[in-house]
Symmetry: D3
Subunit: 300 residues, 6 copies
């Protein structure tokens, strides 16, 4: 797995839905019948999360026969995961897996679209994802955005130095920020220092304060197009990011501004993918259905 | 709290973002300065999750001075939670709390709009939320939809009997389903039996099989308008639900069809609310700012 | 598994007994010797929990060769689970598995007796189990009562509406309860509303307040026999439950009163089954012993 | 607390019952009303677990005003814990606390009776409790048996050396056991070595093999009375325990046999205590009710 | 707290030592006596971990009156934490707290010595700590090294790019590494790329492959002194680290080589500090003892 | 496994280092390549922890081909664990496993040296390890000391009675301690009572108070040599321990004093073993390399 999920996370996803019995299946006497479960794509998507669903199926007592790996495209009608096992195992995994796939594939698909749109404009512009998302989904959202071709901006407070205006307010101003950086930069020699700026003037002050990276927040593309060259000229070694309000609808415009990367939270709130679920008794000699994507090179 | 969150859940939300140190604040020397944190609303919203953010602030080492309770409306510019404490406590809680509020208030706001739209059409039609959402967010999503005025459809596999076509496929057909219900219904005498149907014919078969509730899946409002009266006439005691593809854009149409309730997953994928964060050094004698909503009657 | 147990639960059961080393086995040099462990029944029982013990054995490093499934009868002398593995694995699982089997089989056996007694009197009367039991054992107790043929009354506060006199005391009286139900019943259209009553008069008031189900608490069978027909006549659609003080000794009497179901906590405090444990070095070519029950149809 | 319970254990007890919302209270609009909760004893009991219930109440959002400490007697009609708080907090704690008290007080009460019966016969005979009980309740059962005056026999595999016949079967016989003890006893010089014996002959062999303690298993009291003096004479320094089938009905007989202690599992399956629950709106100036036991010296 | 510790971590530390009862205190009747616990320093140290011990004391049921904050020096005889509470609370916390303080203060003290030694030689050389330590102690070790004045090198695999020879072996060689960097560097524009090198030649190849930081592994100080100027001349923007075998005994020599920082694991295996524990009955009007360090400016 | 580790512990070790992605491997495209990982010993060691590393590898998605069992010696150049699997699995396990092996083998190696040194002087003197170590590592440290040939002194507060001077201070003095022991000793008849003493006089008082074991704290070997015979003469049945400041440098001297066992914490802070890691692409028909130790008899 690209992202490591603890067994307790897998179990927690299952337990969220099936903490006690499956009352319906129990009433219907669906216990040990050999059952086949298929997740079938309804729209073209970029796959993410099938490895995790395979683990869910396994923890429920079933077995995954094959799946389309994360990072690969799938077409309408395609089965992206086929699992088998006793009815009670497979029916328990059903909705847990479906929820996960709809969430992760939805994000991966949108991410891929945005990355494609950006790279079409300028192949050297990266799409980076933020720490903004529903509480508790960071790992899965990361798996999904990686599957779509994006990279994380930062994954936690302990990873990079990113100075927001809120920090500046506490410090007292640009000068105090600059002094703190000057004093401690030697100890952070493996890190880049990122400072958020609202306009060109702040960007200059950020660079003078010691920023290796200037992150423009909520600056429109047309403005960025004007000020990025000025900043590059004054500080050629500074990396320039655009952040705040970037989404599928304006990513291409931002990509054309000359920045190094777009930082966006919008991918984490992508529309879920539409994944159908087929359940059937397992045929005695079930023929392996041909899979389009299994020959492709996936992320994992 | 309406919904019970374990301490480990609160801590896991914090740890997701701040598992190690806050590198930026550490470098800037922001440790013990008395700091005030405000979550400020940018659009009119229905509040949800402030009680949980108060717990996050507490677990980070700060204190919440006041907050707008879940279930209450808030206006642009309004501070819905004000916390104080040492800089390192408050800065650690900042984004964790913001993410939670944006997610929960976004859902509560959309839920409230849909409930209002539905009730305007027919005050006896309920809005019920499904088990479909990002993995791991069920409790928080429930808190948010309750705050917006909806009720849960069901919260897990062990709670109600809900027979999908997939169950029917495993059983062999309607007759086998009917026989299983006939055999076991006495033991489920406290429960209603819900069966999903794709059209009027299936609805009849469901009712004959013993359904107390028929849930139409993906039947357009105009069709429902025609078939609901027929089903009511044939089976006056049967509760009728509409599910599948219901969202803010068509909820009012569905509400006019004569069904008892709408079952929808769409609220769980609401656009996040836009919540700003203000951080400042705590004034020595900080005057308590007047809050619009604190006098209102919230959910809790 | 009928009931889903997280790996952390399996491990917690083991860790409760074997959190550090097995000092006795370590001193005796019992480490890697191939060892066979048999759980042998001393009295006729209804089996429950063997699937979970198989998981315990596996997590300890051993393997289960065969077991009698939950829900099946076992006779004195019968081996209901046979495991093999290194001595240290098998000896670690020994008492953990024995405790689980004695607890679960004890409950399943008593449950089966009570269900049989009730069904002999009236096959349409259900036995339902409550939320009363030792803290932390709900899932395992559920597995055991399901194995004995009972169904759960309710598994948590979020599942059904059950109005106790304590709620009524807070509301102010029957009228306030009735008003709340009238106002919210539409939103709970998939649920039945259960109200507890102490006598016929309260039952009438409950039904008038909107109860779908009236649960008599601590009403003796002879009284119930008199008042159930009256209630049925007045409210033919109301489901009637008897609860409070029902146990193996009086369940048949309650079954004859005309109620729909008996709600009982007593099964959770059943006498533990007496399960012996045999441990031996594994014979090089150990012949598989024939098992009586393995051909029978178990719960899972 | 005599026994340490992690916050996650407290929360898990609550979550077992109230993992999502309290549907009944939510429907009835019971949210913030100041509410008083009383646990009232119906029979004379020995109290256990009130400290843990106080923690449950606190984690639910309420406050415990006073409680009778564990280890103290309580009389019918006595309130052993009085808590207050918002309705939703108090109603969530209600059944969780009741279940805990019924379980723990039931065990403590029986334990106290058995200890009294034994000490009346011979004040130097101890009552020791085993590792046999429902899975997952060891800590709470320990709290309860300590509250009743018993001591634990052993709390896990890592604590003492206790050689069962099953170990002997793996070792090959008494001689191999004796050799292992001879070889390793120096390294266990802080521990006593306990060996189980079925009769006097085995007891002699156990003592010769190096046992500091001989534990007779399932030897009737009348037989013990005869063989204990012989064993004492032959091995005056050996501690003698009786185990297997000891319960409230025969403990006094066992106490008269001259053994040092009785080892029993039966206390863990005591009948639950009968604890009533009163719920009311909190009076504005609620007078503190006098408590009988609060002046007594409890265990904690 | 500089580093966030979940409640479950605090509880796990306590449970590791006190999972059941405190048998000694229970036997001695040490339950509720008001007790004072003092951690007293025996050698000059740099304090770390007192904030965490205060949480341990609290979770055990006691209260911390005052403590010396992490990051401050303490002198022999100085009490660095004074707690009070019932005997059973304080005695439970005793050894858990002592172990934590000895571990954390030991690391902080050595760290401070090494940082001082390094800064005396060259104030612009940082001391960075690695991911090498006993399993499970990363957070506490981080707290301790921060308290001693060091910074983390990296805290996990997801934080920085650090290419070891082992990666190179899998890639096939320097050229393949260089190609991968060239292809992906734009997407890591907020990160520095660190490559390990064994000698000057490898350092050149690393820089040519795109390294922002070259980390020399196990190169002796005398060799470094010679090659660092050459590398600086050829690649003036490259940051240079020394790693591998750096410890208190040679850190000053490494500091003189011209590198930017020393990367060391040795601090995590520092000798534990010697912290004595005094326990006494709390005096009725106990006078607050004057504390040397409480006036100093600590880390938190 | 000699010591039971829960799956959550294995996962927590992995998650500590690899909570999100492996950024370096991801950038380098190291995903599915078949990769071989070898842990190679650089100095002669006693192995400990390989069973746990095998579990880490498995949880990361790889497979362990063979390993040298804990408790066995290994020579420089020897591979003590060889694992294979996809690059991303093996690279994730790499450092987690290395850290564990360096910690555990370091302790086992030093333990073995001390045990050898002690046994050379007097084969009847045991080496016992205390509860002093870094927080959270008790189980792994126990595994390591057992692998080196030591035994645990005690593993938690609930296991033995060990009366420290701090207890005595709370009780009031020796007489109160003696009275408590006299009153409760019958209930602890399976346990030995251990009392710490600072000199011969205290040892006499301890024995008179009822100690089965006297533990001298910080008494130099030369003093012990003088006073042990006196104590043995006066109290021939008392077990005598030496504790406090015992380490590899003086263990042999302590072993010659006539005590029964040495109690030491120093082993838990052993220098980590030096374990190299080799990573390579798996050869298509990789020949199994011969292993020196795999034929030896390990601890497990």
């Amino acid at each position: 797995m690209t992202v490591f999920f603890e067994q307790s996370q897998i179990d927690q996803w299952i337990g969220e839905d099936a903490s006690y019995l499956d009352l319906t299946s129990h009433m219907l006497g669906l216990h040990k019948q050999n059952t086949t479960l298929r997740y079938v794509v309804r729209d073209p998507i970029r796959v993410a999360g099938t490895e995790e669903v395979a683990e869910i199926v396994c923890s429920c007592g079933g077995q995954t026969q094959h799946y389309t790996p994360s990072g690969v495209a799938a077409m309408p009608g395609q089965t992206i995961l086929l699992a088998q096992g006793p009815a009670q195992a497979v029916l328990r995994a059903w909705k847990v897996g479906q929820n996960l796939l709809e969430f992760a594939c939805g994000i991966a698909t949108l991410t891929h679209q945005v990355v494609q749109a950006v790279q079409t404009v300028d192949a050297s512009v990266a799409v980076l994802t933020t720490r903004k998302h529903a509480p508790g989904v960071r790992k899965l959202a990361l798996k999904a955005t990686l599957s779509g071709g994006a990279m994380p901006h930062r994954l936690g407070l302990g990873e990079t130095i990113l100075i927001f205006p809120q920090h500046r307010a506490l410090m007292g101003g640009w000068e105090e920020v600059g002094r703190a950086i000057a004093r401690h930069k030697y100890a952070l020699c493996e890190k880049k220092i990122v400072i958020e700026a609202a306009d060109l003037d702040e960007a200059y002050r950020a660079a003078q304060a010691g920023a290796d990276v200037v992150q423009f927040d909520k600056v429109p593309p047309e403005t960025l197009t004007q000020i990025v060259p000025a900043l590059r000229k004054a500080h050629p070694n500074v990396t320039i990011l655009a952040a705040g309000g970037i989404h599928a609808g304006n990513a291409a415009s931002y990509a054309a501004t000359g920045v190094n990367a777009l930082v966006t939270s919008s991918l984490h709130y992508a529309k879920p993918a539409d994944i159908g679920v087929k359940v059937s008794l397992t045929e005695p000699a079930e023929s392996q259905e041909p899979l389009v994507a299994s020959k492709l090179e996936g992320l994992e």
